[in-house]
Every structure is written in C-alpha cells, then in structure tokens.
Point group: C2
Chain length 239, copies 2
DNA sequence: GCGGTCGCGTGACAGGCGTCACGCCGCCGC
DNA sequence: GCGGCGGCGTGACGCCTGTCACGCGACCGC
C-alpha cells in the first residue's frame, strides 16, 4: 500500500520489527498491548513542529522513523540545536512526567512516523506497567547522559574548531560508512544548522570546513563529507 | 549526641523530617522500609570525592544534607562545574541504571550526610517498588531539565557577562535573602569555581564582578554579594 | 615573626571569532 | 529565460576574552 511521504507505516507496536533494537520498543507483551491501545500513530512531513519550548506538556512522542531536531532559542532569536533524535527515542518525556513546560522544541527533519501518547494515558501507563516505568527511567538516563556530553562539549572546548571536529567524529562513529579513502558521512544539515549545533555562526563553520579541506583532513562533495585523516582531526579534539 | 563535622545524623529515612519536601524522600512506607534496609549512611568531610567521571558505577548516593559539586574535566585539566547538587538529590542514578561509567565526578563542598545504595540493591529496589521507580523517573526528568538549562546557558549566551549575570540571578532566586538594599546571596565558591561554573577563567570573573560593582549593580563584602539593581542585571541577561 | 600558600585585583597583549558586507552558484516557478 | 531565493565562500574589522605576569592581603603552621 502506498503511503504519504514514501515511508512505510507501522501501525502495530507489538509486531514492529524494530522491537529488539530500540529501548522503548522492547517491553512485555502486556505493556506493548496497552501502548498500542493508547497511542496515536501519525505521519508528519519534513519541517513539522511537534511541540514548542514553553508549551504545557500535552504528552510524549515516540519516534518510530525519521529524524527530529530538538532546539532551544534565546529571546533574541538565536537558536541552538540541542540534539538530533533518532528512531526509538521518546520526545517530551521529562516535561510530561513532571508536568512542566516542554524545555525544548521538536521539529522533524525528514518525513517521520511518530506515536503520540496523551499525558494522562502515559502517566497511567507508567504507573501500571513496572517495566514501562523502568524503560522510561533508562530512556531518561540516556537523555541525561547525552545532555551531559553536550555540556562537556559546549563548556570545555577551547575553540570552535574543537567543537566542530568533535561533532564530525561523533557523526563518523554513528553514521559513517567506511570507504577506501576514509569514512564518509552524509550531512543532511545546512552550515547554518551545523553552526546551531555547536553554538557558533554559519560563516565560522564554512571557514573551518575550508580550513580542514586545506589541511587535507577531509573532502566535501555536495552534502557528503569524507574524513581522509581521522588522526589529524582527533589531534585537534582533545576534550 | 555530638557527631563528627557538626552535622546532625539522620539514620532513619522513615522518620526523616525532610520527607515532605524532598522528591526521593517521599515514598510509600514499604519502599521507605526497604530503602532503610539497603542504604549505608555515612558522613563525609568537605572535599570528599564520592565518585569520579569514568569509573564503573558502584551505586547511587542520596544527598541528605550538605552540598555537592558535580564536575567534568577535559583531558587538559580544565574543569567545568556542571551542577551544585542539594539535599534530596540522587547522585549517579543514570550511570547506575544504565551500567555505564559515571559521566561526572562528585565532590562534597561541605560536610555532608549521604546514603549509599549499591547498584544491585538499587536496581532490585526499582524493580520491586513501582513508586520508587516513578520517583526515580521524576528525579531523572529534573536532572535532565537542569542539564537542558545548562546547555541553554552555555550555548546561547552571547558574552561571559551574560552567563555570570544569569548565574547570579539564579542564585538570587534560589538562595537569596531580601534586604532593604537588595537581595543578599552568600557565595561559598571561589572566583576560580565560579569561573568553572560558566566556562571561563578566574581573571574574567574578577573583572566582571568589578565591572558590576563599578556600575552600581552589586556590592561585594567578603563572600556575600548584595544585588542592588536587579533590573540592570536582568537587562544584561537576555537569554 | 616569618615564610608559604591561597585567593583576589589588575595591566598588557594577542588572536579567535562574531559581525557586516558582498558575490557566486544552483534550483525552482512562471 | 529569468528573477528570486536559499545556501555557500570569503574579505575586513574590531572587540571580547584568554593568557601571562605581577603585586597584595589574609591566613596558617612552625
């Protein structure tokens, strides 16, 4: 069956093939059944805004497929990309659990499938399914540790090139494809967005990438980057 | 009974007077009883190191009294103070839950009472007491949100004066005492440590505080600061 | 009393990077 | 084809702030 946005819809968590891999998709059959009953599955086009920083928490979004960027903005309009969320992650959990406003905004970067669970349903779900609660605690622990790494990177880096280098190394490790020449990564973000990930400006990102090219550390072809000399890059990143 | 370090020991969580106020100290009687059975209460002098970034997780520390600083360090020896933990907080929970290395180091800033719970005991405790698991999820949510605020502050601030201003306003709201002249806060950190909280150097902190004094925004007497013109300070902080 | 240590204040200097400005290229709709 | 637009490349300039250096006062142990 053809579906909008060209992605395959998975309507049934119990039968979802991602079960083994993803943290939140790996629970007892009873919990899965309850989750199936209270969730609302939807497809969102690229650029959909799931929730906005400061809103009262309506509930959680479970990311099934696609990628979502989590951002926070200053009153002057500067934006920081806090995290790129990937399938299996739960978005808005902390705000939903505590009843405090969403602390970040969430926007899909690609056409994505998400399961929405209303706040009341989610809290009742956690209260009645011990393993779901435990899974949520694990998810929150991971989110906390990821945030901690972000703090390290933002707070301890000596220079912007260090931050950019670290980001590239991160992407290599998580999405890189090995090639004879080096590791290839596909950057689906604009320079502007890369800048927002490391708290700098577009111009600086452009200049640093040119620097790296000039030094023979990497190669840029359209939206793909090939890291030619990883050791050189690692030398720059001492965090 | 006189105790070491001049603080009052509370050996019994069930009878602890902090019960109502603190998140983790407010659970069902059954859970409290179990917690009492598995915890080890100790007093630590100022400067005690509870755990170090990178260590395998031995378990969690529940902070009963005193303050603890959580830090992370770069390979070059630069240190960032990630958070000042206060009574009622659980330290090391995320690492303990996930079985990953502690992501920060913890060191007491004052003589402190802590309850230690071994990893196995803690995990079993969460598995068998639904409300304890829920409380932990709430704790983790709070820690995550605090980390998120830290990211905002580090990543979106335009200048160091903005970060210092924000820190001072934070302290005012949380520990400030109103006086006729303004809000008085007691800074129990050295300039060096303040610098480590906002990712800058001691000299810059000294200079900025002098600036603020010169502008009549605040007054420094030893380790106490009186904020005289809060609106001025808020104008500097636009995050 | 006195040397050592620790925390604070301040000056000089260099350079990284944010800001502004402009030009180029590829893509899209009409 | 062509105008508009979004994304990228690059130059000039200036400020913030990190770095190094030195001095001063407070406190402590001997």
């Amino acid at each position: 069956m053809p579906s909008p946005y060209n992605i395959e819809i998975q309507n049934n968590c119990t039968a979802c093939s991602r079960s083994e891999a993803q943290l939140f998709c790996d629970m007892s059959p009873a919990a899965m059944k309850t989750l199936d009953a209270i969730k609302f599955t939807s497809l969102y086009p690229k650029g959909s805004i799931l929730f906005v920083e400061g809103e009262e928490p309506r509930g959680v979004f479970i990311l099934c497929s696609g990628r979502t960027k989590l951002t926070t903005s200053s009153s002057e309009g500067r934006t920081l990309i806090v995290k790129l969320a990937e399938p299996g992650e739960v978005l808005g959990a902390s705000a939903t659990i505590l009843g405090t406003p969403y602390e970040v905004s969430a926007e899909t970067l690609e056409p994505s499938q998400l399961n929405f669970v209303k706040r009341d349903d989610f809290l009742r779900f956690l209260g009645t399914h011990a393993d779901a609660c435990m899974h949520t605690a694990q998810q929150l622990s991971e989110k906390y540790q990821a945030a901690q790494r972000e703090i390290r990177s933002l707070g301890l880096a000596q220079s912007t090139s260090e931050k950019l280098g670290k980001l590239l190394l991160d992407w290599c490790d998580r999405h890189g494809e090995a090639t004879p020449k080096g590791t290839r990564i596909k950057v689906l973000l604009t320079h502007e967005e890369v800048a927002q990930m490391i708290g700098t400006t577009r111009e600086t990102v452009t200049r640093l990438l040119s620097d790296f090219k000039r030094k023979g550390i990497l190669e840029v072809k359209g939206s793909t980057i090939v890291i030619l000399r990883r050791p050189e890059l690692e030398k720059l990143v001492t965090i």
